[in-house]
């Protein structure tokens, strides 16, 4: 469905992506992770056609995005949904209007937006403005907005990174349920989520993909030091949980 071939991106003579090759198949949930600044979010923007790479090709549903006119690219983008880390809602629009926005230049069918809002549990707050919502609610609006166009693929750019821990779970729960129905490319550091939901885990470091395999394989036999690092973190988490369980038993 989505294929990135030999992507190279340079900004101000600094290479931020180097020969990246990545494929996301229909129905697949791919989790992309790596240290901060390794190029994960940039890769998503390249995949969306928001940033033009120096070289390489982005193919989506059999079409080379680089070969498209800006108008055709814009139309193609409507088949992709994105959920941002910092929500990026329009403050002058209500919840309903924010979710209606992607439909404004389309068929203008209101039900689509309303269904999306209902699916994230914000029906009662559809006339509120973003400033009247909590962080978790804002991100749910972001998800509803991404769902409104019923995209073929959803990109998630660290959707829980800007949230208080108390809201993280509800977002992960929604993502989990969507993963059953949608193709997703998720940038996240939530390793338990990756372990549970991802079909494939892709590890990046310094603009390169250093390891790519199923989560269980990476967490059991990591072939890169990034993979080993994440394995350590996961094991630490498990140990901590076990201690918590023991204390509860005592």
């Amino acid at each position: 469905m989505l294929e990135l071939h030999d992507i190279v991106l340079e900004r101000n003579n600094v290479r931020s992506l180097s020969d990246v090759n990545l494929t996301v198949n229909y129905g697949e949930t791919v989790v992309l992770t790596g240290p901060s600044g390794c190029g994960k979010s940039t890769l998503i923007r390249v995949a969306l056609g928001l940033i033009k790479p120096k070289s390489g090709e982005v193919w989506f549903e059999g079409v080379n995005l680089q070969a498209l006119s800006s108008e055709a690219l814009r139309k193609k983008r409507r088949k992709m949904g994105i959920v941002f880390q910092e929500f990026q809602l329009l403050e002058h629009f209500t919840v309903l209007e924010n979710v209606l926005l992607p439909l404004w230049e389309g068929d203008r069918i209101r039900n689509k937006a309303e269904d999306a809002i209902k699916s994230v549990g914000l029906w009662d707050k559809r006339f509120r403005y973003p400033r009247q919502l909590s962080g978790g609610e804002k991100q749910r609006v972001g998800i509803a907005r991404a769902l409104a166009l019923d995209p073929d693929i959803i990109f998630w750019d660290e959707p829980t990174a800007a949230l208080d821990p108390m809201y993280v779970h509800e977002i992960l729960r929604i993502m989990d349920s969507l993963a059953q129905k949608k193709t997703m490319l998720v940038v996240t550091h939530e390793m338990p989520f990756a372990l549970k939901v991802a079909d494939r885990l892709v590890l990046m470091e310094a603009g390169k993909i250093v390891e790519e395999a199923s989560p269980s394989k990476i967490f059991s036999e990591p072939s890169s030091h990034v993979g080993a690092m994440y394995r350590e973190r996961l094991l630490d988490t498990r140990e901590a949980l076990q201690k918590l369980d023991t204390k509860q038993v005592v």
Partner: protein, 616 residues
């Protein structure tokens, strides 16, 4: 979603042009009104032609008298203007017809008797002043000028003949026409060697002989007429010594109660000097003379030359207590009383009309033709017995009211002030004035082209130039379009800052280096429209400068777009990621995120609304 970004931009530019055009008209007329009021206060203007100084404490009484004097005069207006020291300035304005009928000539006569009156000046803008033409030629000139479409009216003023233009732009045409009109009049000027009145009189006699049977008018220097009158008037109030024998002109005479010897240097408080028109007391006060003083003629060095025979003292100062003025104004009031009596007594209106005409003639006025025709109707009605009841009594009363409004004798004022002056004070005054008025040339205006006397210099009689007050008016008025255009340029920059800086800011986020060019083009485009529609005269170069300045300023404003209207890059990224077109990105994301302005106001109609969606 009709139209795109370009249409939105075009509509915004169109509306901005409308607003800017309205602004220049409003600002222009606003400044014009403001400047005109200022001009009215300083130099009169198109609405007011006369400024009167009134004693501050008498302003209310003056206004009451003014209303009464001018009641029923169409187009007469007044405005109480500034207070300066102890005086209030009152502006008077007349209708065009009234001005043509000589309102400026009669104003002094009508208002000088009102309480608190302290002098007036005609103030005309825009006007051409013709100096040097004899007053006898004015009626003919005025008649011709009143046929010119460019001229509002022409009238006699203190400095000459004023020709007021309908519009400032007509001044040049009027000036040219006046040159043509007066081109047949020449001024002959003869220089005097000794600058004495006797020499001037001889020169005049010579010219009289040379121009016998021709058309000619002696002209006084501008000050000579007024100052000469003042000297004569003051001299007539100075005490004179009348001797039986003739004394040499310029000699001095001393009056002393003591007997003086020839060759001695006398000390006395009373000194007189011999002039061509009499021996006037120039030192001391006649009220202090006892009549027993003897007169002695002095030599040129101040010593007694000889004792003089008996003399007679004629002292107006001593006579002031019993002096009664007898003037034209007094005569006029007597005439009016007689006329009113005749009206009441049932005199035939035909005779009365002739008497009115005679009265007007005495006052150098002409009965207007409209009034003449009305009077003719009155004569007819009278003869067929159709005059309304009480008409004669009412008319008589009006005549008396008019007569009472006539100025009282100006000498009365002098009489009130003279008792505090000594003969010496009075003499000093006229001596000082006379020194200024001493003739340096004799000049005559004639239609003759060949000089009749050797040494005479010929030049055009009329000195035609824009009146100085009119020039001031021109300079001040020319500020108006500058001020209005400046307001518009600033408003344009405000539009650039609140409307166009959004787009500039967006372009900058896209690293588009043509952003200032965008600002410059819009600035120039809008200014070109504004200077095209502006209803004020201005040179093309100045207009061009404003267009360029408007454009450069717009470019500068746009250069700082990011500081003026910083955009939320994340909102834009969201809009782009959601697949919004450039137009909708601008309408839904950028404009609502910017500052409230014309574009944001227009954008409200284009903003996403749930009502515009339908259910599946």
């Amino acid at each position: 979603m009709r139209g795109g970004f370009k249409l939105d931009l075009a509509i915004v530019i169109f509306l901005e042009i409308i607003v800017l055009s309205a602004a220049i008209i409003v600002a222009g007329h606003g400044f014009s009104f403001y400047v005109q009021r200022g001009l009215d206060d300083i130099i009169g203007g198109s609405d007011y032609q006369v400024i009167v100084q009134v004693n501050k404490n008498e302003t209310a009484n003056f206004i009451e008298g003014l209303k009464e004097t001018y009641s029923g005069r169409d187009g007469f207006r007044y405005r109480v203007s500034k207070e300066l020291g102890e005086n209030t300035h009152v502006l008077l304005g007349y209708s065009e017809q009234d001005l043509k009928n000589g309102a400026l000539d009669e104003v002094t006569r009508l208002v000088s008797s009102l309480p608190g009156y302290g002098g007036l000046a005609p103030l005309l803008d825009p006007a051409i002043l013709v100096k040097g033409m004899p007053q006898e030629t004015y009626p003919e000139l005025i008649e011709e000028i009143h046929t010119w479409p460019e001229a509002k009216f022409a009238a006699k003023g203190p400095m000459g003949l004023y020709v007021v233009a309908k519009d400032r732009k007509h001044l040049d045409t009027i000036q040219d026409k006046l040159k043509d009109l007066t081109s047949t009049y020449y001024k002959w000027e003869l220089d005097l060697k000794d600058h004495t009145n006797q020499e001037a009189a001889q020169a005049r006699k010579m010219i009289d002989v040379a121009l016998q049977g021709k058309k000619y008018w002696f002209t006084a220097a501008p000050a000579e007429g007024v100052i000469g009158d003042a000297v004569r008037l003051l001299k007539s109030y100075t005490s004179q010594l009348v001797f039986e024998s003739e004394l040499p002109v310029g000699a001095e005479v001393i009056l002393s109660p003591e007997t003086l010897k020839t060759g001695t240097k006398p000390k006395s408080s009373f000194l007189a000097r011999v002039y061509t028109d009499g021996v006037f007391l120039i030192k001391g006060d006649s009220l202090e003379l006892t009549g027993s003083e003897k007169a002695y003629l002095l030599d040129g060095t101040g010593y007694v030359k000889k004792a003089l025979s008996e003399y007679r003292l004629e002292s107006p100062r001593k006579d002031l207590e019993i002096w009664q003025p007898v003037t034209d104004a007094h005569d006029l009031q007597v005439s009016i009383q007689a006329l009113a009596d005749k009206v009441v007594q049932g005199e035939d209106f035909g005779i009365l009309v002739r008497e009115i005409e005679q009265l007007a003639k005495n006052l150098s006025l002409q009965v207007p033709s409209e009034l003449n025709s009305q009077l003719s109707v009155l004569v007819l009605w009278d003869r067929v017995g159709r005059l309304p009841d009480g008409f004669r009594a009412e008319l008589a009363q009006k005549l008396l009211d008019w007569g009472n409004a006539m100025p009282s004798d100006p000498l009365l004022r002098l009489k009130q002030s003279l008792p505090s002056w000594s003969d010496e004070d009075i003499a000093k005054s006229w001596q000082e004035i006379e020194a200024i008025a001493r003739p340096k040339t004799v000049s005559v205006v004639t239609t003759e082209t060949i000089p009749p006397i050797d040494g005479v210099v010929r030049q055009p009689a009329a000195e035609i130039s824009e009146d100085i007050k009119s020039q001031i008016g021109g300079v001040v008025n020319s500020v108006v379009p500058f001020a209005a255009l400046t307001v518009v340029v600033i408003l344009l920059w405000v539009f650039m800052a609140i409307d166009h800086s959004l787009w500039g800011s967006y372009l900058e986020t896209k690293n588009n280096h043509l952003t200032p060019l965008y600002g410059w083009i819009i600035g120039v485009l809008e200014m070109v429209f504004v200077v095209y529609v502006m209803p004020f005269e201005m040179s093309v170069i100045v207009k061009l400068v404003y267009v360029i300045v408007g454009g450069i300023g717009s470019a500068v404003v746009i250069t700082f777009s990011n500081r003026i209207s910083p955009l939320n890059a994340k909102s834009i990224e969201a809009g782009e990621a959601l697949g919004l077109s450039k137009t909708e990105l601008y309408r839904q994301v950028i404009v609502p995120d910017g500052r409230p302005g014309l574009w944001q106001l227009l954008n409200r109609r284009k903003l996403l609304s749930p009502r515009r969606f339908r259910n599946a």
